[in-house]
């Protein structure tokens, strides 16, 4: 657990990560490094075919290899009782192969090398079928009315067809394609499983949802929830690929049972390309029509994406973009999906918004060019003053300030609107581009607890939630939020997470962790206040209405009569127990349909916004795009910690630059196997690709959303950035690239 002694700031302070020292010194133990002695090592044998049936698995030679303890295959896998996700089938539940790289066997041995070698000795015979991997293959099953989580993805409001054909409108209709991308966190997924007897299970897992993994494993193996413990003190990046209950988790637990030993089961880097999801391919057609004033008369957003036969995940590009960003007189959304024999797709940082914003914000730039309007003016002309989706007012929206502040900081007024007309003194084309950013503000149900202990002359607070820190700074903001809620110096506060025994938490996905934790901690702090007041007899606060009481400088004090107050220490003392505790209530306020904060759902729409400004420079002879400057201005409610929030936006921008310029998971169209499943051939940006990145925040609390006023910041940074780059490339060269990534060959 991080040493939190150095946490000094409440909410708003640029506090250093409380876990920073542990991470840079290597003291932080990630799942694969769980302190479990005598753990054996598992290695997963992948399928080399993409479609077919396993005819036979011969493990006889492998079993005799040095160091081998056990081999798990579909033939000796115990039946699971649910809990799995990501891949729709229960792991090892049948002999069908639905994608290349599918897990086929797990070898457990005393060293990782021996496990890997023994896996190569397993002989698997397949009956092979021809996979469909090419999106242009007309024999791929096409679904023109897909649903996602039970909801249809199509939408229609007004008459786009008439708007587009009306006289005097300017119409842009273009197709934008984005390739399959892979998350590639630094830490590869890993599960370490330890059975204590037949009915108790301890697991260390690299996960985006400690409580989810806990519930899933208990269910799958038919165990009492209190007999399962899941730890995840650190997650080395997730970006969505650790958000589902992928097969390897269950294989690790089953293998540990079979081997009668704890088992460490990490995925290899190559397996991270096939067994923990990817962002699906998308082909989007945007049709947009506007009058001479730029007002949108019609917007049609067509999406074709690919889905795996063993997954229900759909990349829904329009729902989070065209439905929410602009005020258009008519809107039509159509989504089709093609089933291709590829591994399951999944959530990847701003799923839907990331490809969706590339298409929409590129199309807006094309429209601005056609209308001879400044791209910001076009966006301001279509600013959505209320939510286009729900017609409700926004809880808090400052997008216009994002444009203004960003334009000024970037120097947007120096942009020459005529493409391919500006060069640097050393002869490179220079271009400016911008795009909006947006991401919804979400809450996942969850709880937290806050305990107060006596310490010295004062108190010490320890708050906790099962939760998890993906590297985003949850450890740190947990301290800061608790310190703010209790009005204590952060040095007197500790925060615990990463343990399923702690109060249940939602997943870290949808940028929901900070807001959900703020809500849970806020309610726990209120409960603590009530607990403390139970011991207020004989104090100046005896009999006071709780609504008139606040935490103030180490005391509980009346709001209306501030001189009426009691030291927190005295109340803990009077309670006579080791600590006084407040826990998030069981009221259903943490359900999206509930009361209180989320009841505001009836009154408000919750959404974050931002704007990116990008400068590119491109050599005339060698068209290698260099992104020389990025300015991003984000409206994410109250900024909990400017340091960690800035890092989140920078991380999103860098990932977006990868989307724009280099990233593309490529499959052999004959075999369905990825051809670039490693860090040399799958190109994430490297340091030398990254130049000046500046981040600014509007920093206005959204107090309709939670008592701290924060919305999440993990995902919004990536939205819009690829469009801003493509728009800048157009401004620099006059070449409009609608097919990502923008590699040199496309600019020749």
């Amino acid at each position: 657990m991080p040493n939190q002694e150095k946490a000094t700031g409440a909410v708003g302070a640029p506090t250093r990560r409380t876990d920073g020292r542990e991470k840079v010194t290597g003291a932080a133990r990630y799942a694969a490094e769980a302190p479990i002695p005598k753990a054996a090592f598992g290695y997963i044998l992948p399928s080399t075919i993409a479609k077919g049936v396993i005819k036979s698995i011969d493990t006889s030679v492998a079993e005799k290899a040095i160091g081998v303890i056990a081999i798990l295959t579909p033939l000796n896998m115990p039946k699971l009782h649910g809990g799995h996700s990501g891949d729709s089938r229960a792991p090892f539940s049948d002999m069908n192969i639905l994608y290349a790289g599918q897990h086929v066997a797990v070898v457990v041995a005393d060293t990782p090398e021996r496990a890997r070698h023994a896996a190569s000795l397993i002989k698997v015979e397949y009956t092979e079928a021809k996979p469909i991997v090419d999106v242009h293959d007309s024999s791929a099953p096409l679904n023109e009315t897909p649903t996602f989580f039970g909801s249809p993805l199509g939408f229609k409001e007004g008459d786009v067809a008439s708007a587009v054909s009306a006289p005097g409108v300017t119409v842009v209709k273009q197709t934008y394609t984005t390739p399959i991308e892979t998350h590639n966190p630094m830490e590869m997924s890993a599960t370490v499983a330890l059975w204590e007897g037949d009915d108790k299970l301890v697991v260390w897992d690299s996960t985006q949802g400690v409580s989810n993994t806990h519930g899933s494993l208990a269910r799958a193996f038919g165990l009492k929830p209190e007999n399962v413990r899941v730890y995840c003190p650190y997650t080395g990046g997730g970006f969505g690929c650790k958000g589902e209950e992928w097969p390897h988790k269950f294989l690790a637990v089953a293998a540990a049972k079979l081997a009668k030993r704890p088992v460490r089961l990490p995925l290899t880097r190559a397996q991270m390309f096939t067994n923990s999801g990817h962002r699906p391919f998308c082909e989007q057609v945007i049709t947009v029509a506007a009058g001479t004033d730029g007002k949108l008369k019609g917007l049609r957003h067509f999406v074709l994406s690919q889905v795996s036969p063993s997954s229900t995940f759909i990349e829904t590009c329009a729902a989070g973009t065209s439905r929410v960003l602009y005020d258009t007189a008519s809107l039509e959304i159509v989504q089709h999906v093609k089933t291709m024999d590829l591994p399951p797709g999944t959530w990847m940082r701003a799923p839907g918004e990331t490809p969706g914003m590339f298409a929409l914000e590129s199309a807006l730039d094309e429209l601005a060019h056609e209308l001879k309007m400044d791209p910001i003016a076009l966006r301001l002309a279509n600013h959505a003053d209320v939510s286009p989706e729900s017609k409700k007012p926004w809880s808090s929206k400052h997008l216009k300030e994002c444009y203004t502040k960003g334009a000024e900081k970037f120097g947007w007024s120096r942009r020459n609107p005529i493409p391919a007309s500006t060069k640097t003194p050393d002869g490179k084309w220079i271009g400016y581009g911008m795009a909006s950013a947006t991401y919804p503000a979400m809450i996942f149900p969850g709880k937290a607890r806050v305990r107060l202990y006596k310490e010295g002359n004062g108190v010490r607070a320890v708050s906790a939630a099962a939760s998890q820190d993906l590297g985003t700074g949850t450890w740190t903001i947990g301290v800061q939020m608790t310190a703010t809620l209790l009005d204590l110096p952060a040095g007197q506060v500790k925060f615990e997470l990463g343990d399923s025994k702690l109060p249940v938490s939602g997943q870290s996905g949808g940028s929901a962790t900070a807001g959900s934790l703020a809500l849970a901690l806020g309610d726990a702090a209120e409960a603590l206040k009530a607990e403390l007041l139970k011991h207020a007899d004989g104090t100046p606060l005896a009999g006071i209405d709780i609504k008139d009481v606040q935490f103030k400088g180490g005391e509980l004090a009346s709001i209306s009569k501030p001189t009426q107050k009691v030291k927190l220490r005295d109340l803990v003392q009077k309670a006579g127990s080791e600590y006084v505790e407040g826990v998030t209530s069981d009221r259903n306020k943490f359900q999206p349909t509930g009361e209180d904060y989320m009841a505001n759902d009836a009154k408000y729409a919750f959404q974050s916004f931002g704007a990116h400004f990008v400068e590119v420079q491109i050599d005339d002879l060698l068209p290698l795009v260099k992104v020389t400057r990025v300015v991003s201005v984000m409206d994410i409610g109250r900024v909990l910690n400017p340091k960690t929030a800035r890092s989140q936006v920078i991380g999103g921008v860098v990932m977006g630059l990868g989307q724009a310029l280099t990233e593309d998971t490529h499959y052999d169209l004959r075999t369905g196997r990825p051809t670039n499943d490693n860090f040399a051939d799958y190109r994430v940006p490297v340091n030398s690709d990254i130049h000046s990145l500046e981040v600014e925040f509007i920093d206005v609390p959204d107090l309709h959303f939670n008592p701290i006023g924060c919305r999440g910041v993990g995902e919004i940074g990536i939205t819009g950035i690829a469009a801003a780059v493509a728009n800048a490339v157009y401004n620099a060269t006059g070449k409009r690239i609608r097919d990502l990534p923008i590699t040199p060959d496309k600019l020749l």
């Binding site: 090398e113 190569s120 052999d668 169209l669 040399a680 490297v686 690709d689 040199p744 060959d745 020749l748």
Partner: protein, 329 residues
């Protein structure tokens, strides 16, 4: 990864003898290629013969040449003052390759023998004539965006991946090779062989042969040399196309020049046609472009790599422009 033994000879003779008596053994130097391929199952040696302790890591200079020990790391060569000053294209080429961590362990001898990055060569479940002669070439009808346009055959279209070897080819380096009796010298252009029928045979090394040094002659043009590399990201990335050029320009006329290409050919590609087209010409963009056209006339595109023909021409022009500028400066 199969079982293998490990030995650490103390003399070059002992190392060569070990290789000769164990035909399935491999030399291990920096290991950046061999260890990777061991893990992938691309190589399955019976023994690794560690040659890092043979004293082959020295870099020496005299009036005629610079000699880089085959065991010198890429970093040691790239940051050597004499090389930076008098053979700039070589320093630039080395620093354009891999990452600092890799360059700190990878050796110059090993770099000459670097294996292709062709995805099918690295995937033991794919057909590959270079890895498994006679099995076919999965790249011909597969993913071949990064593959070669020069020197290809129906058996193989894999590129030679080295940056350093391209600069060495332009600088007409000489490879010193030791066998059990003598050290012989082979000009780098003769060191690499064309693929022909057997793409597994990439060079003239015989069993047991040990590269001990790389010698680079001083010339009137080596000091005005440049390495230009086009790639999909700005570091830690193999070339889509690269060019090492050295020019001797006098009063605006090209008296002499050497050009080699990388990322586009099955071996470091000496551009003789371009050189011939340039000698005696004025150092102008038009002449540079004409030379590039002459060299690429024989290029053959695959389904996904046709762009390399134009890109390579531009890389050549860029490198020639920059090298000619150096002369003026």
């Amino acid at each position: 990864m199969n079982d293998f033994s490990y030995s650490r000879p103390t003399t070059t003779t002992e190392a060569i003898q070990t290789l000769l008596s164990h035909p399935d053994a491999l030399y291990l130097a920096g290991g950046t290629n061999v260890i990777d391929h061991l893990k992938l199952g691309v190589v399955t040696p019976s023994q690794l013969v560690d040659i890092r302790h043979l004293g082959l890591d020295k870099i020496s200079t005299d009036a005629q040449s610079v000699t880089i020990g085959a065991g010198a790391t890429n970093s040691a060569a790239a940051y050597h003052h004499e090389i930076q000053t008098h053979f700039p294209a070589l320093a630039e080429a080395i620093l354009a390759g891999a990452s600092p961590q890799l360059r700190n362990v990878a050796t110059t001898g090993g770099n000459l023998l670097q294996k292709t990055r062709c995805t099918y060569f690295r995937d033991i479940h794919s057909a590959c004539n270079k890895r498994q002669p006679g099995s076919g070439c999965a790249a011909l009808e597969g993913f071949n965006r990064s593959h070669a346009i020069l020197g290809t055959s129906d058996a193989c279209i894999a590129t030679h991946p080295s940056d350093m070897a391209v600069a060495l080819t332009a600088l007409e380096a000489v490879i010193h090779i030791q066998d059990q009796s003598v050290v012989r010298t082979v000009p780098i252009e003769a060191f690499y062989v064309s693929y022909g029928e057997d793409p597994a045979k990439e060079n003239v090394l015989k069993p047991g042969d040990l590269i001990v040094a790389i010698e680079i002659p001083r010339t009137a043009w080596a000091g005005h040399s440049r390495y230009v590399k086009a790639r999909d990201r700005s570091s830690y990335e193999f070339a889509l196309a690269s060019a090492a050029v050295a020019v001797d320009v006098d009063a605006g006329k090209i008296r002499n020049c050497r050009i080699a290409l990388g990322g586009v050919a099955t071996k470091p590609w000496r551009a003789h046609a371009a050189e011939a087209a340039l000698v005696g010409q004025s150092a102008t963009p038009v002449a540079f472009r004409a030379a590039a056209e002459a060299e690429l006339a024989s290029a053959k595109a695959q389904k996904e790599n046709g762009f390399k023909i134009e890109l390579c021409k531009r890389v050549m022009v860029k490198a020639l422009q920059e090298a000619a500028e150096m002369r003026r400066a």
